[in-house]
């Protein structure tokens, strides 16, 4: 059985609990053993580093050291988490910097040795679980659905940090997953752009114009729903969708699914268990289309 040190991230344990429950449900079906890092801290999301980059690196060194101590690969379920973890891992390849940082971990007797390779569930599905295994688990192919990918910045940029050269399949991981699950991909310009979430509290109008225009573009290209590996994007695209519609003056009605929810649907897991009833934008039409 494949085992992972699992960092759910704050949002999956806060405003997007459906991401957490659907991840656990899918992992169980796939026989993945997730050991949750209960003592780990928020990645800082690039916001702690706005004022305190050093502090953010210490917090992430600690999380990565915990995964090393368990001798397990680190799994994230948030584009932002994986991006921030990988940036920290990149900076901490510098031995001198690592020594300086490690000195804050010494009181608990842990040390970051520099070996972590944080990955997102989406990559793990394609790289570890594999297409054949996923295929064998599909009970209800999503043939009726046209799905727009929405990546979230940190799982597609900067490419160097994400090791795209060594893993070219990471470039279009969402399209691949959509394809394996039997649905049709709707491509649109906004799919790799920013949802605007980071500036929601500092510049709401700009933030919602971004979210709204991507939603509008995907909707007008015929998407039935979007799927995202980022719960922060989910907050801006789902919870803020009614406000975004007002800001751009269009009518929007586009359900936003988390990656494991989509997996779960194809694997025949009960929508209630996947938290699909807990969205702001109603998923009922989508489920009707699938006949569930």
């Amino acid at each position: 059985m494949s085992k992972y040190a699992f960092w759910p991230g704050c949002v999956a344990r806060g405003a997007a609990p459906e991401l957490y429950t659907s991840t656990l449900a899918v992992a169980e079906h796939l026989g993945m053993d997730l050991v949750e890092l209960e003592a780990a801290a928020c990645t800082g999301a690039g916001i702690i580093s706005d004022g305190e980059p050093y502090l953010q690196d210490v917090l992430n060194a600690r999380t990565m050291a915990m995964s090393e101590q368990m001798d397990l690969p680190l799994m994230d379920i948030c584009s932002t988490c994986v991006g921030v973890h990988r940036l920290a891992a990149e900076k901490l390849r510098d031995v001198d910097y690592r020594i300086r940082i490690n000195h804050h971990l010494a009181p608990e007797g842990i040390e970051y040795r520099g070996s972590a390779d944080p990955r997102h569930l989406l990559w793990i599905l394609l790289e570890d679980v594999g297409i054949d295994k996923i295929n064998s688990m599909i009970k209800r192919p999503l043939e009726e659905l046209n799905l727009g990918p929405f990546y979230g910045c940190y799982i597609v940029r900067p490419e160097r940090t994400l090791d795209f050269d060594a893993h070219p399949t990471r470039r279009d991981s969402l399209e691949q997953l959509i394809d394996i699950l039997g649905a049709t991909t709707v491509t649109y310009d906004g799919m790799t752009k920013c949802c605007g979430f980071p500036i929601l509290t500092t510049n709401k109008k700009n933030s919602l114009t971004m979210a709204g225009s991507h939603l509008d573009e995907a909707q007008s290209k015929g998407a039935d729903a979007l799927v995202t590996p980022c719960p922060l994007c989910h907050l801006n695209l789902d919870a803020q969708q009614p406000d975004a519609a007002k800001v751009i003056d269009r009518s929007l009605n586009l359900p936003i699914l988390h990656v494991p929810q989509l997996m779960g649907l194809a694997m025949g897991i009960d929508p209630e268990k996947l938290g699909l009833t807990r969205h702001v934008v109603d998923t009922r039409n989508l489920l009707n289309k699938l006949g569930v």
Partner: protein, 351 residues
Amino acid sequence: MAQQEFIIQRYNPDTDESYEESFDVDVQPGQTLLDSLNQIKWEQDGTLSFRMSCRHAICGSCAMKVNGQSMLTCQTQVDAAVERGDPVRIGPMGNQNVVKDLVVDVTKFLQQFERAETWLEPYEDQEPPEKEYRQKVEEFDHWSHASTCIHCGACYSDCTVAAVDENFLGPAALAKAYRFVMDSRDSKREERLEYLSETQGGIWDCTRCYMCVQACPKDVLPMDAIMELRTLAIEAGHTNNHGARHHKGFAGGVRKRGRLDEMMLPVQSVGIGRLLTGQISAHKEMMDYTPGAIRLLKSRKLLTIAQRHGASAEGREQIQRIFDEVESEKHHHDVDADAFGAEFETAIGGH
């Protein structure tokens, strides 16, 4: 020699017509996109318009959108472009008005530099040094990335905020402003930091989307420069703005619970102090967030404090210790920095 199809976005200002046109070009191994555009212009359609000059990634004229991403066409080989999409789609840069075909009006882009006053403001009241102004090697190494900009506009063209806000200073001008904030010969460091954190469209409006870092052909790392400006501005005490408050509220929440507290963020960004002292503008801003909160409540997303998951008790203790340790270390550093600053001032003054 192989045939390669290019789909070029065209615009004719005389008829106000936009259309796509396909061209097949015989390409040699190693040939660049700009070579191919020249081939089209010389051999197939002399009316095709685009900017170019140096052909060596120096002048910054030839940035265009290639398969959706902005880059220098003289620096990009056809093979590399094909890997990202075949046929290769070439269009004008984004976020600027198109003049003709692949030529955009760069006025707005250039005005951002003027607005940010990205030129050296020397110390007027000090005698210039006898020989030259000295800059420490380690210091220059730290910010030299931001000095290599060729003003090609690729970053601005892909910037997600520039796409929705004309007022945003944009990645290149902000990176250049950073370059002068860091330059020991410049006398306006404090004024710059204040302006960049308080002006509309300044450092706090960036979404941290990495588009500019990905697009830049010169590794200027504009976003990294903006992030460092934020840290410098907070350190310099420019904290009476949404961005700095957001940082402080976020970090404070993580210190307490080990995790982000989304429910408290709007309150903190608007400013607890402003709310408590009854500032009307603060209450108006708060009302702005209320519809979102009510919707979350309806979809059972807004959790009670007890349901919101913090780090384990043991984890929380360790996280708090780390926060406090780093904080107290910073104060030590401040003392060091002051001493260093004094030494530095004399060094650059040349006396």
